[in-house]
């Protein structure tokens, strides 16, 4: 399995730093309504370069930073890191492991690293091109996207197939 570890801090409801080690082929994410399951998915796509307000369910870029709860103050930064196994070289880098980190500050300033090297969103897109994981990729299906899949126009469907070609 390619995604080995996820670390989140300050992203949406993940006010406390969380580290998730992934094992197994089929992993079920479970928990009550509103506990943060879809927020975890948002964190993954955000770290992979997603910027659209609609995809992240946020209105502005900084709305993904933990904005406080009844017991905690808002935080000033959101950071998500993903560690990928790259032994099969499915990512076009000649290393066995690829770490992607994205960080966003309240000011709106943000940074992004690929294996500790500063990167732009463009570099992320190039890295993920053809993997199904880049922005708008078909391998990540958000909650409620199922109906959109069927409601797409014939032209939109052709575009998906073009991207898969």
């Amino acid at each position: 399995s390619v995604l080995k570890r996820i670390r989140l801090h300050g992203f949406k409801t993940f006010a406390q730093r969380a580290e998730i080690n992934l094992q197994g082929d089929l992993i079920a994410v479970v928990g009550p309504n509103g506990c943060g399951k879809s927020n975890l998915v948002d964190a993954i796509v955000w770290a992979l370069g997603e910027n659209s307000a609609r995809a992240l369910r946020a209105g502005t870029a900084t709305e993904v930073i933990f904005s406080g709860s009844s017991g905690q103050k808002p935080l000033g930064m959101a950071e998500v890191s993903l560690w990928f196994d790259n032994e099969t070289r499915w990512l076009p880098l000649d290393v066995d492991e690829v770490q992607i980190t994205r960080r966003l500050y309240r000011s709106g300033e943000w940074e992004c690293w690929i294996n500790k090297t500063p990167a732009r969103l463009r570099d992320l897109a190039d890295l993920l091109a053809g993997t199904g994981l880049g922005r708008g990729g078909y391998a990540i299906i958000g909650q409620g996207d199922v109906e959109g899949f069927l409601n797409a126009t014939p032209e939109e469907r052709r575009q998906w197939i073009e991207e898969a070609a």
Binding site: T13, G31, S69
Partner: protein
Amino acid sequence: AREQFVSAFEAIRGAFQERYARLMEGGQADLILTLPNDPLSSGVLLEAQPPGKRRQRLELLSGGERAMTAAALLFAFLDVKPSPLCVLDEVDAALDGRNVERFVDHLKELASSSQTLVITHNPITSANADHWIGITMSEPGVSRVIPYTIQHVEGDIPSALTDQA
């Protein structure tokens, strides 16, 4: 580019026909080019006919039938263009017990070749996972991840069931 598109289209179309008939245990579905002589400006129509029924417009299909059709299309895309990681957020929400079981068979098949994360409230889906990520809100408004080291999930409340709560 036209050759590439047509070959991708034919591959996805064939996979979609196979996946639909297998998921629905019968019936048939198809992808059709609106302009077969000009594929790159064509639209792609989606038709689906559940077993025992006549072919009708997609809007007439039930919530569960639409979800199964969308799943068949998603699996078809992944058959043709596999992704090392797939994330599915509550795509089983509209399915009844029997359809969930068939869907889970396809999920397990997918998981044998791609690391697959599913967010789900469905006990059948989560019972078939080989690992779980439990998320709760021990502190209001703040997500907490509960690693599962034993294969037990009951309902949507993971905290009671792990030896690390």
